[in-house]
Amino acid sequence: MTKLLITEITRMGPAFCVIGLQREQQKIQSIRPVPSSANGWMYFPHHRGDILECALAPFPGAKPHIEDRVSTCSFEKSSTLPEAETVSYLRKAEMAQSLPDLFDCPIHENKKGSGLFAMPHQAKRSICGCETQNLRLELCANELRATLALPSEEALRDLPVVDRDWRDFIEASLSPGRGANRVARLDRFLNSQFHYKIMSCPHHFIRLGLTRPFHDLCWLMLDTLFPLPRPEWLEEF
């Protein structure tokens, strides 16, 4: 059995993609458990910070998703770590300071419009953590997008946000039961309280991921944003 600290739960279409950390001797590395018949989970009842016991088998996944492992039995939760401790482990896993170091390959910009991508055969991994100097979330035509600055001062724009908890939070903030001007209120929150809450948090941390190859390109996305949103923040706007 393997112990896996769950660090990412992302929404990919109707399914969830899950990534966790596994300790192998002195090294902490990211592992993506996948069902035997698909890339994602249609139902995943666990949370970030949960430590799950599972059985994983090697999986000949296509590059750059070298972290894929087939889960051969159901997950069993053994304990839970607080958010700050989870981030402390993430900081010991795959890390980068600059754009080319993220996936150990050149990152290209979309010539037609927005977005950044890596070439599948060049990228050496599909997930990486980093600190940010600044971060902004924005609802653009109903799509949640992130713009952030890396320690190298390189700016990354229009990254799709696939973090399940943040997506759920944004959806909850826009639910009709919350009254009028919901988009404008959310916009104000994202430009004020959100920014303060995120940037002043001592365990503020992000993980960036690559999509599976789509038309031979792997697009960058914001997989995880710590701190995770809290339900009581909805009362603030």
């Binding site: 910009e109 037609k112 977005g115 653009c140 799509e143 001062e153």
Partner: protein, 434 residues
């Protein structure tokens, strides 16, 4: 199904053209245009990545800053994009509000470029001599970068003298006296002294005391920054006549021993000057009308080039030539595509491309990527090296000089595009004022 919010126009307006062009760039050039009410995401025509990418392209080409927020809680349809574009501050003319646009635009004075000049450092060195000076294999600059010679400032020449010489020639070409200048807008990536270049230039040219003097930055993008400032001064009625000058003397900063030859060896010295005047000023005929400008900063390339002073007086240079080359080509191509979309001028009908020229190899590659003749790019970097902010200036002057040989009516538009560390980018266009 007709929706009253999306009026059908018998005459295809320019907003619709722009939206459709951006859609085809995203969906493919042979893609058919969906109906105005079709939800592009629900129907799978675009995925969510492509939808946002398409909107960003419309924003850039349409000069709209925040189209996406206006489309929240709306369907992902072309009709909604058009409606949001119509509601935005964009001043792209359309068939249905042309008269309003006419009123707005007529209240702002257009700027006309009436005179230009460019000068180079008077010491012309074969690139092999520069190879040797930097301790590089002889022939490297020619083979790798395509640079045949470099223009270096001679003793007694500096940013001020080169800028003054260029300005005097531009004034003479425009039959304009220095005392007619209301503003001087100067830019340089090598002049860091005080008084600033614009102040020194003001005194050297002996313009009126109440002529304003302003320095703008942006390094190689400096000319475009300066032009848009001048255009704004004229448009707002603050000035009738503005001189824009660029001047760069790299050969005294990027010296052997201080920087690597692969970087320092690319640069030469030069200056350029342009006179701009309000289109409504007495005697303003001919020349080229300044169109709109597009600006921005592609921060993902911020680490590709960095230059800073070290404590010991040396220079810290971070230069990832390969990444910068890739970034330069991609971004300039993108800028030129946006200029094409925004202006409605097909690139094939452009008379010349006055762009930044990091090195001749990249210019050739850019021409190839854009599908235009390399001959439409004046060969500035090949014979003089990268002149910083003056590269674009020298290229623009050369393009204008070629155009001046043509009869009125045959002259064609000019596209501008440049980059600066950051990666700052900008583009624009000029059309003959016939």
């Amino acid at each position: 199904m007709n929706d009253s919010r999306f009026p059908l126009s018998s005459k295809k307006d320019s907003r619709r053209r722009l939206v459709e062009d951006c859609f085809r760039r995203e969906a493919g050039s042979v893609a058919s245009i969906p109906g105005d009410t079709i939800d592009l995401i629900e129907t799978g025509i675009l995925d969510s990545m492509a939808w946002v990418s398409f909107l960003r392209a419309v924003e850039t080409a349409g000069g709209v800053s925040d189209l996406g927020s206006g489309l929240n809680e709306r369907s992902a349809s072309l009709g909604e994009v058009l409606a949001a574009l119509r509601n935005s501050a964009s001043d792209i003319s359309s068939a249905d509000d042309a008269s309003l646009i006419q009123k707005i635009s007529s209240s702002r004075t257009k700027a006309v470029l009436i005179g230009s000049s460019a000068v180079l450092g008077s010491r012309l060195l074969p690139s092999e001599e520069v190879d040797r000076a930097f301790g590089m294999p002889v022939g490297k600059l020619r083979r790798r970068a395509g640079i045949e010679s470099l223009a270096y400032a001679a003793e007694g020449e500096n940013e001020l003298t080169l800028a003054a010489k260029a300005a005097q020639e531009a004034l003479r070409a425009a039959s304009c006296g220095a005392q007619q200048l209301d503003w001087i807008v100067a830019t340089s990536e090598t002049h860091h002294d005080y008084p600033s270049l614009s102040a020194q230039f003001h005194s050297r040219l002996l313009v009126r005391e109440n002529c304003g003097a302003l320095d703008v930055g942006g390094a190689c993008l400096g000319l475009l920054n300066a032009l848009v400032v001048a255009q704004s001064l004229i448009g707002s009625g603050q000035a009738q006549t503005v001189a824009v000058v660029t001047a760069d003397v790299h050969s005294r900063t990027l010296t052997p021993g201080r920087v690597a030859g692969e970087f320092g060896g690319l640069f030469g010295d030069g200056a350029s000057a342009f006179l701009l005047r309000g289109a409504n000023s007495l005697g303003t005929t001919g020349g080229y009308l300044l169109g709109e400008f597009i600006f921005g900063c592609a921060g993902q390339y911020a680490a590709a080039i960095r230059v800073s002073d070290a404590k010991d007086g040396s220079l810290n240079v971070q230069f990832d030539g390969e990444a910068l080359s890739r970034a330069a080509i991609t971004r300039m191509e993108k800028v030129l595509a946006s200029v094409e979309l925004r202006s409605g001028i097909p690139r094939g009908s452009v008379g010349g491309f006055a762009t930044h020229q990091p090195n001749p190899r990249l210019v050739a590659l850019l021409a190839k990527q854009c599908g235009v003749s390399p001959g439409a790019f004046p060969p500035v970097a090949r014979t003089s090296g990268n002149l910083g902010s003056s590269t674009c200036g020298a290229a623009l002057h050369e393009t204008l000089r070629s155009a001046s040989k043509q009869v009125s009516g045959d002259r064609r538009p000019i596209f501008l595009a440049s980059l600066g560390p950051g990666l700052l980018f900008g583009g624009g266009w000029l059309t003959p004022n016939d």
